[in-house]
């Protein structure tokens, strides 16, 4: 409950400005266990935040979507975080799996490249891709450039909007809202640059995949046992495939 009360009390935007203080604290904290790991050659000192979603644990309950909606008061019809259902096969050989979606906070974010206003960038402090709605001119270029459809034009602020890994919470040492709420503990958030972090260990010891690896964006959101089936791929073997996006935009593009 502490998390819940602390979140909204903090002005999210003000943290875009005071990057230095918060992130430096996190960086120092992250460095301590790392000093014991002298054998691991590391060049970066800043954290690189990422998420691992273990779909063996996900039950498709949409709690993450709801937590995100309430955390940011995301306008009706828009989604920062959502869950897709993938159904395939013919009875009795059927499978249903879930695919929670959010911004991948790519190492090479195409959205940042196309922004003409300098309103979106990948923070050097922690790798989080942020949008400053006060700088955004609302041209929609980034929305089109994202291969994950993770961005949208916010009808209230008229600026581009997307998941920011709950920067206002993370900079206070908390985990993102969707991670906090996940009752199946399917979401793990942490520093991918710290080999001792839970996420680093799990990414190292599990067969993980990322979405649209072929786009070369190097996402920082990993999945365990994700179903990459897409009905748009001709020749997918399952006779029946149905993807429910649970967004107003009902089809993947």
């Amino acid at each position: 409950m502490d998390d819940m009360t602390q979140g909204p009390a903090v002005d999210r935007r003000s943290f875009l400005g005071k990057v230095g203080g918060g992130a430096a604290g996190v960086a120092v904290a992250a460095t301590l266990p790392r000093s014991a790991q002298a054998a691991v050659a590391k060049t970066e000192t800043n954290p690189r935040y990422g998420m691992l979603i273990d779909l063996r644990r996900c039950i498709g309950c949409h709690a993450c979507s709801v937590a995100c909606k309430s955390e940011f008061d995301v306008p009706l019809g828009s989604t920062r975080s959502w869950v897709e259902y993938i159904e395939k096969g013919t009875y009795p050989n059927v499978k249903r799996s879930f695919l929670p979606r959010l911004c991948n906070h790519c190492t090479h974010p195409p959205c940042v490249d196309v922004c003409p206003a300098g309103a979106t960038w990948k923070r050097e402090e922690d790798g989080i891709v942020v949008v400053d709605p006060e700088l955004c001119i609302g041209c929609g270029y980034c929305v089109l450039a994202c291969p994950y459809d993770a961005r949208f034009m916010n009808p209230v602020t008229k600026s581009a909007d997307k998941c920011d890994f709950c920067l206002h919470r993370v900079s206070q040492g908390l985990v993102p809202s969707c991670v906090n709420t996940c009752m199946a503990e399917a979401r793990i958030f942490g520093d991918l640059n710290d080999p001792e972090s839970e996420i680093s260990k799990k990414v190292a010891t599990n067969p993980v995949t990322v979405l649209h690896q072929e786009m070369g964006t190097e996402p920082n959101v990993y999945y365990i046992e994700a179903d990459h089936t897409d009905p748009r791929i001709p020749g997918e073997r399952a006779e029946y495939i149905r993807v429910e996006t649970h967004r107003r935009k009902q089809e993947r593009t």
Binding site: P110, V114, G118, I137, A145, K158, A160, M215, R232, I233
Partner: protein, 317 residues
């Protein structure tokens, strides 16, 4: 189909008008720099010179209405720190430079006594050279703007800037032909009339070249896209192939009305001089119907391309 569009009718109209302006400047500058000095060619150059800034300014005024924050648009111009990565940064600068150049260029045509060899020809010629380069870059830019995204397989091809460039020049020439068709007063003097017909032939030759060029580019676009590409591009191209949601828009309006009909009309009236040694005579009806068909097709090309690019994305997940 169109409810999820991020870029809609404003973007389509803007890239049409920007291309029209660049194309009108192109033909006007060519007539000024390389043409003979007769009155008919000067009139055509004047039409082009007037269309260019008007189209570009209307487009530029329209463009911010699609922005979430139109009054922040100026920030793009000062974003030297990060803007160099974004095609839109260059496009914004090119647009304003093109408006400035074409505006001053048009001014040299406005005085009543303006002619090819008047005392303003020096300034006019310099502005023509500058505007040719800027207009070329601007017409090419619209393809970069849309094509710079691997996430949009329909747009992400080097053919797109060329296609928009050819279409921009074709619509610009068509704009000049249309104004001639509407405003030309037939002269009793056979010398004046033959000069008019000579320039009409010249303009039709450009239409023929640019329309056939576009047909070749579209042929390559479709053959490579639908035939020799990976699954994402094939899926993207399928929206304009038979059965696709934009098939009618593409084949009927872009290809037949916008390119094949203008090509045929141009060939019919060019044939006597092209294949023989008789004088080509272009009737007023042809000077009106051809450009209207071509301008409509040019608009539809942008409509189809802009919508198709947003309906489709990288296949798989």
């Amino acid at each position: 189909m169109t409810e999820n569009l991020v870029w809609g009718i404003v973007d389509i109209t803007y890239i049409f008008l920007g291309g029209l302006g660049a194309g009108a400047f192109f033909i006007s500058a060519l007539l000024v720099l390389r043409g003979k000095t007769d009155e008919a060619r000067f009139a055509a150059a004047r039409y082009g010179a007037l269309i260019a800034p008007v189209a570009a300014i209307v487009g530029a005024l329209l463009l911010p209405t699609e922005l979430g924050h139109p009054f922040r648009a100026w920030r793009v111009y000062l974003n030297f720190a990060h803007g160099w990565e974004s095609p839109m940064f260059y496009g914004a600068w090119l647009l304003i430079l093109f408006i400035a150049t074409s505006f001053f260029y048009a001014l040299t045509f406005l005085p009543k006594d303006a002619a090819m060899d008047d005392q303003r020809r020096g300034a006019r010629g310099k502005l023509a050279y500058i505007g040719l380069v800027i207009g070329f870059a601007l017409a090419l830019y619209y393809g970069f703007l849309h094509g710079a995204m691997p996430s949009r397989p329909f747009w992400n091809t080097p053919l797109l800037p060329l296609l928009f460039l050819f279409s921009a020049y074709a619509t610009g020439v068509a704009g000049v032909i249309l104004l001639r068709g509407l405003l030309h007063k037939t002269s009793d003097d056979p010398e004046t009339e033959s000069q008019y017909q000579a320039s009409a032939y010249q303009l039709l030759a450009w239409i023929l070249t640019l329309a056939v060029g576009q047909l070749v580019l579209l042929f390559l676009f479709i053959v490579f896209g639908a035939g020799f590409s990976g699954v994402s591009v094939r899926q993207a191209i399928s929206v304009i192939m038979p059965g696709g949601v934009l098939a009618v828009g593409f084949w009927a309006w872009v290809v037949v009305v916008g390119l094949v009909i203008p090509t045929v009309i141009a060939l019919i009236y060019m044939a006597p001089r092209l294949f023989g040694d008789r004088m080509a005579v272009v009737p007023r009806a042809a000077e009106i119907i051809l450009p209207i068909a071509l301008l409509f097709g040019g608009y539809m090309l942008r409509y189809v391309v802009v919508v198709a690019g947003q309906l489709t994305g990288p296949v798989g997940i």
